[in-house]
């Protein structure tokens, strides 16, 4: 009985109750800003969750993960601009384009190790960033306004803020559930074994490259979906979404919340973005406060916030 009510479970449970009930508060008070903020948080938590699959569980430090946010967003934006607004076309294409890009990047970078791996993922992300800057027809540097959100033939209306928020939340929950199945499956054991000791994995008979590549592609697809959501949320897409500092933000969210833990990315995203929101009202130098906090967590809590909570006993 008491094993269930650990500090970790209580915090995660409370967080989900909060996320589920937020629209009720918003609708009653008529203040829509928290909903806008938390829609963004939920979408970025989905992106961080996808990165956590390869970074936290697979040990692959992809420093170009925001590229998929941009890729998914640009597929939606460009199709909308060309008059194709059906979500049934846009979203599968956003996911498919991300899968293809992840396959190419993964096939090249997964042969490298350590710093080289990081640099190759970064280089590809920068490349696609500059491609987007050069897309004059689609706004180039200034970005592209999306005048019509993805249409789902009356099944869903994404312009309804509450409905859109719940869709994002449902997709986040589905993604976390998917990751939990993946990492505990045979496939998941292989990528975790490979994180732990890749040489040994090969010696006992695993062709680890193909499994790591599969993980890389799955993570890319999930993040591409997050990109499609983000473009719909902001009604806008620009190269800034995939600037390399955005990839850094995603890594920070994971490290803050807990690498290789199921709910770590969500906890990290909520923490980072609410801190950013709150502190930036006090001072424009909010990063001076967030920086040391991150340092503190990295040094003293190896498993991030999630790990620290799991270490606490219930009073």
């Amino acid at each position: 009985m008491s094993a269930f009510f650990t500090a970790r479970n209580v915090v995660i449970g409370a967080l989900f109750v909060f996320l589920a009930l937020l629209p009720v508060y918003v609708v009653t008070t008529g203040q829509f800003f928290p909903l806008t903020l938390f829609t963004r948080i939920v979408i970025l938590a989905l992106a961080a969750t996808s990165l956590n699959l390869i970074l936290g569980y697979g040990g692959m430090v992809s420093f170009g993960h925001a590229a998929y946010l941009g890729l998914g967003g640009y597929v939606v934006g460009i199709l909308a601009r060309e008059g194709i607004t059906s979500g049934f076309v846009q979203w599968p294409l956003a996911i498919g384009a991300s899968a293809l890009f992840a396959f190419v990047v993964g096939a090249l970078c997964l042969r490298a190790r350590g710093v080289y791996f990081i640099m190759i993922t970064l280089a590809f992300a920068q490349m696609i960033y500059y491609v987007a800057v050069g897309l004059d027809r689609y706004g180039g540097d200034d970005g592209l306004t999306i005048y019509r959100r993805s249409q789902f033939a009356g099944l869903l209306d994404l312009s309804g803020k509450v409905q859109f928020y719940y869709l994002c939340l449902a997709l986040l929950v589905a993604a976390i559930w998917l990751v939990s199945r993946l990492v505990n499956s045979r496939f998941g054991m292989v990528i975790q074994g490979s994180r732990s000791n890749d040489r040994r994995m090969q010696a006992i008979g695993f062709p680890t490259f193909r499994y790591r590549l599969a993980g890389f592609v799955i993570a890319g697809m999930m993040c591409g979906l997050a990109g499609a959501l983000l473009a719909n949320h902001t009604d806008f897409i620009s190269p800034a979404v995939m600037h390399w500092t955005r990839s850094g933000d995603l890594i920070v969210m994971i490290v803050l919340g807990g690498m290789g833990s199921l709910f770590g990315p969500l906890i990290g995203t909520v923490t980072l973005l609410t801190l950013e929101e709150g502190l930036s009202r006090l001072t424009e130098y909010w990063q001076i406060i967030v920086g040391p906090l991150l340092l503190f967590i990295v040094i003293y809590a190896h498993g991030g916030i999630e790990g620290a909570l799991a270490g606490l006993r219930r009073g």
Binding site: N184, S185, R186, V190, Q192, S196, A203, I204, G205
Partner: protein
């Protein structure tokens, strides 16, 4: 008569100016415990690296079970039944002991593009894993995190992981390295038990262990085979004494 399980023919490997393996030929028939000894730098590690597929030879051939495996990648050799243990303990330290062996079982249980069923509750993986742990006497430590094991237990786990794959040939790279006298004698007892069920190629510095366990011994010096035969023949071989045992003999008499 059937071919030997492992045949090595004129295996040669050069690193820059150093001939690490100079035309090594060697047969290991099924059922034998064959030990390779030699002073530091004799080419033992290079040889085992080439057998495992981590180093590719400049010339020569390796046949395993009648099949040329000279150019096969590591994981393919492993799936043919060639298992190795590492000289320096190489385990999955952040996983549990049972996870470690279960991964070894999984490596030989078909492809792992299985995304849905929890692998930690698959009896097909956990059962043989527990059995392998029992064979080396580690079953009581199954749920411990690997990093928390002692050095001796790590070596036992190394062997359990190789056993879990039901190998046809077991490459053991210095299983006694860094062990105390107590742990060593337990390891010798374990290997003595295993050699009745398993073909083993043993590389080891501990002469006591080698002469107690081996059916045949090959002596490497400067990348070349200088003698190969039964333990008694090796003890009596003049070239071996000169090259290898000489200094120890001198100490005994001095």
């Amino acid at each position: 008569m059937a071919d030997p399980l492992l045949q090595i023919r004129s295996l040669t490997k050069r690193f820059g100016g150093v001939l690490a393996c100079d035309g090594i030929s060697l047969d290991v028939p099924a059922g034998e415990l064959h030990a390779i000894i030699g002073p530091n730098g004799a080419g033992k590690s290079t040889l085992i690296g080439q057998l495992a597929g981590e180093i590719s030879p400049d010339a020569g051939r390796i046949f395993f079970n009648g099949r040329d495996i000279t150019r096969l990648p590591t994981h393919r050799r492993s799936s043919l039944g060639l298992a190795r243990s590492f000289q320096i303990t190489s385990l999955f330290l952040d996983l549990t002991v049972l996870d470690n062996v279960a991964l070894a079982v999984q490596a030989h249980a078909g492809h792992s593009f299985r995304f849905w069923r929890p692998a930690r509750s698959e009896a097909k993986l956990r059962g043989p894993g527990r059995a392998a742990l029992a064979r080396v006497g580690l079953e009581s430590r199954a749920d411990a995190v690997c990093a928390n094991l002692s050095h001796g237990e790590h070596r036992q786990l190394e062997i359990a992981m190789a056993l879990a794959t039901a190998p046809r040939l077991f490459l053991l790279d210095e299983p006694m390295a860094g062990m105390g006298a107590d742990e060593s004698s337990r390891m010798i007892a374990l290997l003595g038990k295993l050699k009745r069920e398993q073909t083993i190629l043993l590389i080891e510095h501990d002469m006591d262990a080698v002469f107690r366990l081996a059916d045949r011994i090959t002596v490497l010096v400067d990348g070349r085979v200088i003698a190969s035969g039964a333990p008694d023949e090796i003890k009596a071989d003049a070239a071996v004494r000169r090259a290898y045992l000489g200094s120890q003999k001198a100490n005994h008499h001095g």
